[in-house]
């Protein structure tokens, strides 16, 4: 994965970048499977590696496939992102250790979900039970976000096409 990231950052050929992003997504999906997050892995494989690769290739079809050389050396952005990474890593130092059973996330509502979901909802897959039932409002919001994204794309791209047709007239 690290190699894929380095090549993506170094490569000037956008086609290579898109394909490597797909490979990266698949590797990420395998990592998620290893972490027992099969639902997320499935989403990553289908969205990250599948559909978004196709969409990026479609976008690539509209522009040049070679990235132009940047005008200036990107020292300032590099410093900003390096310091952001530093702050985030510093933030993780205070988090409970990975899979620590006494971490707050495992003692708050999770035991109730795991113990009661089967009885309360009759759905063996706790992920589905939490997603659609306990957190129904959140999922409604997410669906609305997806819908809004679609509407945004329609609004952006369709207007462009209409003006083009008007110009043709």
């Amino acid at each position: 994965m690290a190699m894929a990231v380095v090549v993506v950052a170094r490569s000037r050929n956008l086609f290579t970048v898109v394909v490597l992003m797909g490979i990266y997504s698949f590797l990420m999906a395998t990592v998620l499977v290893a972490l027992d997050a099969v639902d997320v892995a499935m989403t990553e494989a289908s969205v990250g590696a599948g559909v978004s690769t196709v969409l990026l290739l479609g976008a690539l079809h509209l522009c040049k496939s070679e990235e132009t050389k940047p005008l200036r050396k990107p020292w300032l952005p590099l410093a900003v992102s390096a310091s952001a990474v530093g702050m985030l890593v510093f933030g993780t130092l205070d988090l409970p250790a990975f899979s620590d059973p006494t971490a707050p996330i495992h003692t708050h509502v999770v035991p109730r979900y795991l113990n009661e979901a089967m009885r309360e909802t009759g759905v063996p897959n706790v992920v589905t039970a939490v997603l659609a039932s306990y957190r129904g409002y959140d999922t409604l919001g997410e669906t609305t976000v997806v819908f809004t994204a679609g509407v945004g794309v329609i609004a952006l791209l369709r207007r462009r096409r209409n003006t083009k047709q008007e110009k043709a007239k």
């Binding site: 289908s46 559909v51 976008a59 909802t121 589905t128 129904g136």
Partner: protein, 141 residues
């Protein structure tokens, strides 16, 4: 594109299975991994696959733009509608317990419809974005 016989035959063979798998992911989401979002993406991927092999026009004939746009909004409306039905039956918004006489059955029913709503919207959005990009690429030519 026109004469890729192998691709065409393989696509014809694969697409029904991809769609079937999407339905499996959708309706088996209660028991195994999967659910509305994944199923919606798989449906969209199947149709995008069809569009890549047979051309966007063929895909548009199978899955017209108007239908995709209805799906876009319809999924959210199904989801919100489940909440309203719960409200009408005397529960809270998005309360599934009141959807059936047996609360657990009600939960099942609520989750089922909510997942369908998610799947419909997700596949609609994915397809719409793909159509948009694909048709933009073709316009100048």
């Amino acid at each position: 594109m026109r004469h890729d016989l192998v691709l065409r035959v393989i696509a014809k063979l694969l697409i029904p299975f991809i769609l079937l798998f999407a339905l499996y992911v959708q309706f088996h989401g209660d028991f195994g991994p999967g659910g509305g979002f994944q199923a919606g993406v798989i449906v969209a991927a199947a149709i995008i696959f069809y569009a890549l092999i047979y051309g966007v026009e063929a895909a548009r004939r199978a899955m017209p733009d108007s239908l995709v746009e209805i799906m876009l909004a319809g999924g959210v409306l199904i989801y919100a509608g489940v909440g309203l039905v719960g409200l009408g039956l005397g529960g809270n918004y998005l309360d599934y317990f009141v959807l059936d006489t047996d609360p657990v059955q009600g939960q099942h029913r609520g989750i089922f419809w909510v997942e369908i709503g998610v799947a419909v919207t997700v596949s609609g959005v994915m397809l719409k974005i793909f159509y948009m990009f694909a048709s933009r690429g073709r316009d100048p030519e």
